[in-house]
Symmetry: C2
Subunit: 340 residues, 2 copies
């Protein structure tokens, strides 16, 4: 039966040593070092250690108005993209003595607003947010608050705030250009039906690559999946395209999730990739070296994204300014898009 010990406070040390709490505070925070007698300082330090003193950050925060805490809101922390991002943010934050609180919005507007409120109530020094769909008003409201923030992964192009995001247009265009270079002209797109700017930029990149190659756009080769319940939609989209009289020779999936579901269906149907249909996808999948057909995909610079977002946020906390960063994607070429 462990008994709850009362924690020792500055006052306890002050009493023990016979000085004021002020002096103890100064010594333990290494302030006014030159103006405090060595002996007293030494005595304070040693009894603090002996009494196992640990400063109460809550009390300090109340006084200093700083919590050394960053709030991170993503769609879902268990999504590998976001958990990797979280790790880089954690490390970068820790290097500057910040701790990270996290929460998942599940792409839900209501939940997102709620999480922002909870984090503001906790007086986080700043927020890193991968904003959910339709949360522009929430972000706009944040701009009017005192709390610095930076968006990651997604942003709203008409909102003048800090963000770090992939250049999705460029990345998608690169992916489709690659398919064209490999001799494909009938190229399908499977994407989400969404108002997300970053997703629609991927479609724009696709369209741009086709246009510059003089390939006419075929609406039947573009399918937009409902985000609410994607699995059946993906299956149907792929099936429909395969059933077309002139079916695509290649397919570009605009997200990793669409790609995985699509590939599972293609495999079930016994369609040979890349021989019958070439594939390019988005984002890395764990252990894809072990895939039947290792994928060609756009790799996002997650490390840079996390590090820069954190660095910019911490700069923001010290002095306000906005910074907008577009990071390039990298096309990783693999079996799924190369016919021999």
């Amino acid at each position: 039966m462990s008994l709850r010990k009362k924690k020792v406070s500055l006052k306890d040390i002050a009493q023990q040593v016979g000085v004021s709490t002020a002096l103890v505070s100064y010594v333990l925070n290494n302030k006014r070092e030159d103006r405090i007698s060595k002996e007293v300082a030494k005595k304070i330090r040693s009894t603090a250690k002996k009494m196992n003193y640990r400063t109460n950050q809550i009390a300090r925060s109340l006084k200093t108005n700083k919590t050394a805490t960053l709030g991170l809101i993503v769609a879902d922390i268990s999504n590998p993209f976001f958990s990797q991002l979280a790790r880089f943010i954690e490390d970068q934050a820790a290097a500057a003595n910040y701790t990270v609180i996290f929460a998942s919005s599940d792409e839900n507007e209501q939940k997102s607003q709620n999480l922002i409120n909870v984090f503001l109530d906790r007086q986080v020094d700043g927020l890193i947010i991968a904003p959910a769909e339709n949360t522009k008003p929430q972000i706009r409201a944040l701009q009017r608050s005192a709390t610095p923030f930076v968006l990651v992964d997604r942003y709203f192009p008409d909102l003048k705030c800090s963000y770090v995001a992939l250049d999705n247009f460029q990345a998608a265009r690169e992916a489709v250009r690659h398919l064209i270079r490999e001799g494909n002209r009938r190229i399908g797109l499977i994407t989400f039906k969404t108002s997300f700017f970053h997703i629609n930029e991927r479609r724009n990149g696709y369209l741009s690559a086709l246009r510059e190659a003089g390939i006419p756009i075929n609406k039947k080769w573009i399918r937009e999946i409902n985000m609410a319940d994607p699995a059946p939609g993906i299956k149907k989209a792929v099936a429909d395209m395969l059933a077309l009289p002139t079916r695509p020779e290649a397919l570009f999936f605009s997200t990793n999730m669409l790609y995985i579901q699509g590939m599972i269906y293609l495999r079930q149907q016994g369609i040979k990739v890349p021989d019958e249909i070439a594939i390019v996808s988005f984002d890395e999948t764990e252990a894809s070296e072990l895939f039947d057909v290792p994928p060609t995909y756009i790799r996002q610079p997650i490390r840079e994204m996390g590090q820069q977002a954190t660095r910019i946020l911490i700069e923001n906390i010290e002095r306000r300014h906005t910074r907008q960063v577009h990071l390039p994607g990298e096309l990783i070429i693999n079996t799924s898009s190369i016919r021999r």
Copy 2:
């Protein structure tokens, strides 16, 4: 240029309405409801809303000595096992109005101690820890502190504290029994060289399954990989076993990481799984339906682990008691272990 607005406090509302801060506090916290005039309460609520009041949790925490915050320390939040665990913990915590702080120990003793200190300084109400190797003294010290905690995934069998963990012995024995039922008698084990109890329980399960089937233990079929730099060790271990005059017909990998690295090597060498060698592994891998050879593996009940750990911790915060939970693993049978 957004200007930092001063946040509105209870005092501001009190002044505005012309009552004491005490009364405002009571109304906003729905206390003494019966003993406060309806009109005043209404007035307070409406001006609080009008002034956009949000309670400062830091100030409240200082007074109440509760932060409604749980600290989560895992080896690496970007590891899918831990990020999924984190998600279930987050949801369970949120349901009880707790927020989660997280950090990664990188299996590093020093870092682990540091994180525990940081979280205690922040006055977390409780801790959920997947303890790193050799951190038993740290956990023992925690027991003597005032802060409740529960271990997850790993634990120290001689420490009487709360934990939620897989029954690793049973799970591993099940895996190896399956290989034996499939007709394998020469079964190798690739595991880590470690003092981790949970990992060594997996070895014990392996040994037990062999013993009960009357299969003699062959030390050459058991390889322990150095955790510090596993990749080359795994490669060599697999290569060595394959080169043996009587080589194993089946291989049990005691962790997912060992399995992935091992499989990559087997694939490079053109070894056919399961025909030349059957494989069973630990933990789910993302999108393993797309693997050349979908794996047979032990699935851990991550959801239950996260939920129970959180529930037990929150119970602990309210009234002390220890609870120790062993969860069963489930064998998911797939191509990698079934020869036709």
